[in-house]
């Protein structure tokens, strides 16, 4: 009688441990998905600023066709990307194209002084900050997930929960990780 109780108690305990570990892994995996969705939301916000920005810059510097083309191309590429690596690559290209656009604007004092442009620039750097925090949050989540998948005891349950290590979000251009600072 006693041994049966002990066995039952052990089984219950093991089941509870299993459930806890399994759920932890699933939760970590879901939070990586959520974090990635957050990056996409912020990238979309940034992309939405681009048509206006291009219009405003065109008004003062219509002949800088190359730069506009780069930005528009980057935007088109960003809308089709789905995998982490693709989105990160498109993100990097966009960041660089935008930097080019802003560099062009530097050469036109009238443009730089226009309220419209200043507004957009403010909004852009705000969004840029949000994008970089979203990237960081995603990578933090991937880090926790990957640690859990690779360390004992969670590593035993990873195949059962069909959870595996995920890819970090790496933007090619290292300078792009430095968000522009805004002062107010």
């Amino acid at each position: 009688m006693k041994t049966i109780l002990v066995v039952v108690a052990l089984l219950v305990l093991l089941t509870l441990i299993f459930i806890a570990q399994y759920n932890r892994l699933v939760r970590l995996n879901v939070s990586v998905d959520e974090a990635f969705a957050q990056i996409e939301v912020q990238l979309k916000r940034r992309a939405d600023l681009i048509p206006n920005l291009v219009e405003v810059v065109k008004g003062y510097a219509a002949h800088e066709k190359d730069t506009f083309e780069k930005v528009v191309n980057a935007r088109a590429k960003a809308t089709t990307a789905t995998t982490v690596a693709d989105v990160a690559a498109a993100d990097g290209a966009m960041t660089q194209a935008l930097r080019g656009l802003l560099a062009v604007a530097e050469g036109y004092p009238d443009l730089k002084a226009s309220a419209n442009f200043l507004n957009l620039q403010d909004e852009l750097s705000g969004t840029e900050n949000k994008v970089s925090f979203a990237r960081q949050f995603y990578n933090d989540n991937v880090r926790s997930l990957n640690t859990a998948v690779k360390t004992i005891p969670t590593s035993f349950f990873a195949p059962l929960a069909k959870v595996s290590a995920r890819e970090f979000y790496e933007v090619e251009d290292p300078a792009s990780r430095q968000a522009p600072t805004v002062k107010f």
Partner: protein
Amino acid sequence: MSNFRTLQSANKRKTFLLLAVMGALVWVVVFAALTYAGQSTAGIVPIAVGLALISVWGSYYASDSLVLRMTGARQIAESDNPKLFAVIHEVVIASGLPMPKVAVVEDSAPNAFATGRNPEHALIAFTTGLLDVMERDELQGVIAHELSHVANRDTLVSAVAATTAGAIAILSDFIMRMMWFGGRRDRESNSNPLLLVFSLLVLILAPIASVLLKSAISRKRESLADATAVQFTRNPTGLRKALEVLAADSTVVQQRSNAVAHIWIESPLDGGNISRLFATHPPIQERIETLRAMESLS
């Protein structure tokens, strides 16, 4: 090597340890009470714990609205201060928390606090003095510190600590009063004089010890919030500069109640000669040094 991750786990471990010591202290006090006043007084143990639970958990549950009233904070909407909300939005994204309620306290002393029973009911508040003097990166550091309290569930931790300390205080107070008013020990108690002296000492010292433990937990949570803030912003400089501004400013928030002193980013009580052991916050210079050490790492 003390980056924010090692600091976070060290502070979490210490909080756990302190809470465990506090839990053990409750049992020691119960034992002392029963030894000193006799087994027949066992009934007051659940009463003391019950009283402590009622008094603390009501205020824990309603902490967001209650603290608003006690500090005179006024909740604001995004349209009231879009610039502040822009910085908050960034840190919210970095932390993965839901957007908290935001409030402002009309007070020229720079300070800030966070409260709320869970991240869904979180509230962060800033004094007008703080919003006036802080640069953007400093403000970001302060917001990250406050959101760290939310992420680390510090309202819950301090409620647990307050309940335990409260139960200990009520219990020993009961027993001491009973003894004072001529209560007598049961005959059946084994009356080992050494044990009785020990019990009396425990009953006298336990309330002080529990307050010390509560303050120690509060200090650990502050250090933890500083470390977590660095995890959110990856910028120890902002928070360090903010703390330097707070340290340099000698004005103190016009507190309506000492009961909420521990929730501010900079202790409003530091003005007096309170011993370090009773302080709810680590010395601000020490916090600045820790952040400086993190800056040199990156």
